[in-house]
Structures are given as C-alpha cells and as structure tokens.
Symmetry: C2
Subunit: 380 residues, 2 copies
C-alpha cells in the first residue's frame, strides 16, 4: 500500500454528549464562541439548548444563522466579518452539512483572509484556523468529521470543494438525540448521503485498509437501520444511523469521493438542488459505470446489500446495485432525474462543470463529459 | 449508549511513510527534535535512516537511547532533563512500545515537571505536552496511537499505567517496512500483544460502536495474517499485521483494557517479564473467567477465530477460546506460566498488586485477588 493518511477529529459520541459542548470549547481556550446554526435547529429548540449550555460554563457567544441549504460565498464572507468584529475565538456549529460547511468557511476566511474562492481545491489553506467544535444534527453530511467544505460560488453557480486537513474540526460531538426532532424525509436524505459517502470512499483510488472498514460498516448500518429508524424512530436505530454517519465521514474524509459527488455538486451549484435528494437518483447508475474497474470491491458492497454472494463477483455486484435501487424505491423517494430537475437541456452544462470537481480525481474509472451525459440520460 | 470519546492521532500509514518523519516534525514547529530509540533499531539501521531524514529537512536533533524493555522511571527523568538541557521542541520515537512509552514519559515530565509517579492513573496531566511524532517498529504496542504510557516504578517494582488524552501522539507514522528487520519471535509477541489489546478493548465496560469495529478487525487480521507473515514474511502480510496493530491501538486507547493487562503489568513490574510473552499464557484463562458476563461478545470473537458459529453463543465462545489456545501452541511459544515465572510463591503478591492497576476498572467481570490467584494456578 502506498502512503495514506488518516485524520479525524476527537469524537464525543452518545446520548447527552451535547452537554459537553461548552466544556469542549473551554478546553480549546474559548472566551467568546461564534455559534453557527439555522432556523430548523432554532425551531426544534436545540439552539436555545446550546445557549444555556454555554451560559452554564460562563462563555460568551455570538450567534450567526444567515445560512442557506447549499451555503453561499457571501454568507461566509459576512460571517467571517462578524467573527472578527465580535472578537470570537472558537467556531461552533450545530446543524446539518450546511451550517457546518458555512462555519468551516467562516473559520477559514476569518483566519486566512481573502474570499472562499481563494481556497478552492486541495491543500490551499496556509494559516491555522480557530478551533472548531461541531455538533451534527443529521446523520449524513460528515462535515463534523471531514476535511471538506462545500460552498456555492453564486456568480459562477458552482459548488466549490475546499479540501484541507485544517478543515477537520477539532472536536465532533455527536448526540443522536438531535435526530429525534428531524422529519423522516431528512433522516432518509442524510442517511443516503452517508451511504453515498461510504460507497464512493470504498471504491476511491486512494482508499486504504484504514478507510475500508469504516466505509463497509457505514453501508451495513444504514441498510439495516434506516428502515427501522423510519418505522419506530427508536433511540437505538437513530444511534446506529449516527454512528454510520461518523464512519462514513471517517472514510470519505480520508479516501475522498467520486463521480456521484462531482455530479451532485454540479447539480447543487447550478440548480440549488438539495444535496441529499441527488444520490438515490445518481448513485446506482454511477456504480454501474464504475463496476468494470472495481469488480471485487463492488462485490463486497453487493454482499453487504444482499446479505450474501450471488455466484460470481460481477453477478454479486450487479445484484447488489439492483437491490439498492429497490431499497430506494421502497423509501418512496425520487429516483429519477426528471423528478428533481425540470429541464433536461441543462444537463450537458452540468456535466461540463462536473469535470472540474476535485471529487472526480479519485473516481475509480475515468469519466468524460459524454460518459456523464449518458449517466444522466439513463437516470432521466 | 452512554457518552464515549474516540481520540486518535493523525496517522500516516504505508510503505515509505517513514520518509515523511522530518516533514511531520517540521509541521509541528520543530527546530530541534528529541529522538528516542534503542539498540535494536540502531543495529537494524533505522536510527541512522531517521538521522538522514532529519538532516535532509535541515532539522537538528538530540538522540536518546538509554531505554530498557519495560522502561524505567529514572530513564524518563534523565531523558526529560536532557530534553530541557538540549532545548528540544518536538519528541520523536522510533521503536517498539518501550522507546515510545519512555518518549511519552519524557514529553510529560519535560513539560509538566515533577516525576513520572506524579501522573500515575487517569487524567492527571495538567499542562500541554510538546508535539510527539512516533514511528512504531513492531505491530503491537499501539503506543503510537494510544493515550497510555506504562513506566516501571523501580522502587515499588510496579508498572505504572499513565492514561491521559494528552498522551495521544500528534502523528503516528506506521511504515510496515520496519517489520522486515524484526525476528519472528518479536513479530509473534507484538502481534499477540495487539490481539490481547483488541480482545480486552472489545469486552471492556466502556467499549463503544466506534471501538468495536476496530477491535474485531484487528482480531481478524492477526489470526489470518500472523501465520502467513511468519511463513513468507511478505510485505502484504506484514502490512496487514501493521494495520491490525493500528486498529487494536484505536480500540484499546479509547475503550481501555482489562484483567489480562492488569496481571501482565504486575508481572512485568515485579519480575521484568517481557510484556509480549505474558498474553499467550494469561489471555485464554482470563477470557474464560470473563465469559459469563459477556457471552455474546465472546461469541463474536469466537466466530472470528473459528470462521463461523458452533451452536449456542456460549458454545461458540468456548470453542473460540480453545482454538485460540491451539493457535498459540502452533506458534511454539510459552503457553504456561511456569515457562516465564520461576517461583510460584511470588504469584499472590503479583495478584495483590494487580488489583490496583487502572486497567482492571474496565474489566467486564469484577475480579478479586483470589480470582486472580485461581487464574494463575490454572495457567501454571
């Protein structure tokens, strides 16, 4: 095996771990916390809960919630300006991928100056970031674990991937109780986001022994516990989904992603499609496209999906993808591209932009614009 | 699940990763590295290799090798004194558990003052340590990953367990090529050390989903690849053993250990028995002792050892332990306590000391001195 790196935050995991948020910030030297979240978390009462936890620990804070789904470059700039004006010293985020990615962007621009655009791509951040303490409220984005931040460039209508070890938060606090206030559709879309992280990381060209076991465990947990979580919303099932999100985050942060995410970022940037809705549509055809270059690994995924092998490696892989499509269908979610995109004529442009996405570099099979257009046609 | 933490270093893994040692030290702000190793590594040429890597990166260093197997309190004090005198700023270690544990002790005393004894037990280190970059040369101790340091108190003849998050090195660089210069007996003893870490972490009272998958993977890899590594010494097999050491380190650092290690530390402190020789003797009877309190988990271990289940959970667990004993026998290593201890009369004293070992706190079944004496009798 070539040299591979594996870097993750310190993780606090389990029911009630949220209570340690202020203690963790304190340990990072906090005097004034910059807290990022959004309306959904406010309504569910979690932001108020964090306020009181910070208060108990005698910490000051500034609260910032001007953040969209698919967070935007100007929201990051505004946040960084506020961070500096308010004299904050630790960045905290509670929420899904959007507030967490925005918080990463804010930490980056506040400490390194310039605009988000200056850091697009891999390893372009020079100066250290303020400490980051992140509390994920969905079991999917992995932004609390990963070295990725995805921010939309509004002018170019592109979701920029920013990848740097310094974007790995210092501490991830995963309290599965946060999932109890999420509706089923969000549980589904974030679990499938995590599933796509795990699948793409597992077949990535820079996957390693260290990332493979986390990826396979995530796939296993999501397939087994997502249906249960939707049915009974038991703490046990939500906890399993949370740990799946963490494992998938460990895997993709260190093994990166692939074609499905390159296309998803492009669709998200151009059309503002919610990230989690895209994978049930694109992941199966992308898996079929990649299959010839990684039959054994796709068979290992198939074996988990099917609960056993079906003859040859290729047969197992193929049957696994089919079963995955059934799994998505049974969740009553959009599984065709036409369900989430209005105009098919925009697709060639989407594919042309996806070619430049950093995630494509580690896809196991080289993909041209034409290949991607074919995948979109198949998914339409 | 209760709140659990999971903290590991940044890991560089793979053939040739050693070449990044100086770069990593540089990233930690090094100007003068305090390098700890021992005679074995010198003879194999690895210390010279590290010198030249440091030189290429224009880093100064001070080399310290006055370290035993079962490293001693005065060696740590001397090392800390030298660290300060020489004006070093980063601690680097290359070697097995002994040089790495000594290096941790040195980092701790150099920055926090006092003597090693002041920090015995859990969470007693107050001030931050200098950055630590560790390169393990055996696939077993996990000292490059863990928050443990084990140092012998020479006066009390006790191996002290020092446990603190600040003892997790900043960077672990695991280059499986270092194993190529190790004799088979060291490959065996370190692999079985890792196996015992994995087994004890898996059944620990503070095990979690996050540590369980690493523990099971370590067990699986060691049972499958240790015999191959001994036979063909192929890079692939050595690499698998290295990754097993890393996984076991991740597991036990965060889930801690149990009765087998409490006894092993006591034996090592009193009689200076090499740590790796003790587990083939004590692990099976300790597993039998613990079995009633964790049948399902012991069955999961049995299933890996046997490659399948044998009827009930208890039958599978029992058969697994028996097969493990055969596995040890086939390695032609000492499997009876009388092979490694001269005088049985010392055993009650060993057991009385073991009661105070921090590792015992997380053993799944409470163990009295009498229980431990029984285990020693069975193993004699």
């Amino acid at each position: 095996m070539e040299v591979r790196k594996f870097s993750i935050p310190e993780i606090l995991f389990g029911r009630g771990s949220l209570n340690y948020a202020a203690l963790c910030a304190n340990r990072m030297g906090a005097e004034k916390v910059f807290l990022v979240s959004d309306e959904g978390l406010e309504k569910a009462g979690w932001v108020e809960r964090v306020f009181s936890i910070l208060k108990e620990e005698h910490l000051a804070w500034h609260y910032y919630s001007a953040v969209n789904s698919n967070p935007r470059d100007y929201q990051v700039s505004e946040g960084a300006e506020r961070y500096r004006q308010e004299g904050c010293d630790v960045v905290m985020a509670i929420g899904g991928g959007s507030p967490m990615d925005a918080a990463k962007g804010i930490a980056m621009v506040a400490s390194n100056g310039g605009r988000v655009q200056d850091y697009e791509g891999a390893n372009r951040i020079q100066r250290p970031l303020p400490p980051m303490v992140f509390m994920p409220s969905t079991a999917g984005s992995g932004a609390d674990i990963s070295q990725f931040a995805i921010i939309t460039d509004m002018q170019r209508q592109v979701k920029m991937s920013i990848i740097s070890r310094t974007l790995v938060p210092n501490i991830s606090i995963t309290d599965p109780q946060l999932l109890t206030t999420k509706p089923n559709d969000l549980i589904i879309s974030s679990a499938i986001d995590a599933l796509s992280h795990a699948v793409e990381a597992y077949i990535s060209t820079i996957a390693s022994t260290l990332t493979d076991i986390q990826a396979l465990k995530a796939i296993d947990l999501i397939l087994n516990y997502l249906p249960i979580a939707l049915q009974d919303r038991s703490m046990e099932a939500l906890e399993k989904l949370s740990s799946a999100g963490t494992f998938a985050g460990m895997a993709f942060s260190n093994a990166s992603l692939g074609l499905d995410h390159a296309l998803a970022h492009s669709l998200g940037g151009k059309l503002d499609v919610a990230h989690g809705l895209i994978h049930p549509v694109l992941l199966p055809p992308v898996m079929r496209f990649n299959l010839p270059t990684c039959v054994d690994k796709m068979a290992a995924i198939g074996e988990i999906i099917l609960g056993g092998r079906r003859g040859s490696a290729e047969a197992t892989a193929q049957a696994g993808i089919e079963r995955l499509e059934e799994f998505f269908s049974n969740l009553n979610i959009a599984t065709r591209l036409r369900d989430i995109v209005d105009d098919p004529d925009v697709l060639p442009q989407i594919c042309e932009m996806a070619v430049y996405d950093t995630c494509l570099v580690t896809n196991p099979r080289e993909a041209t614009v034409e290949d991607m257009i074919d995948i979109c046609k198949v998914s339409w």
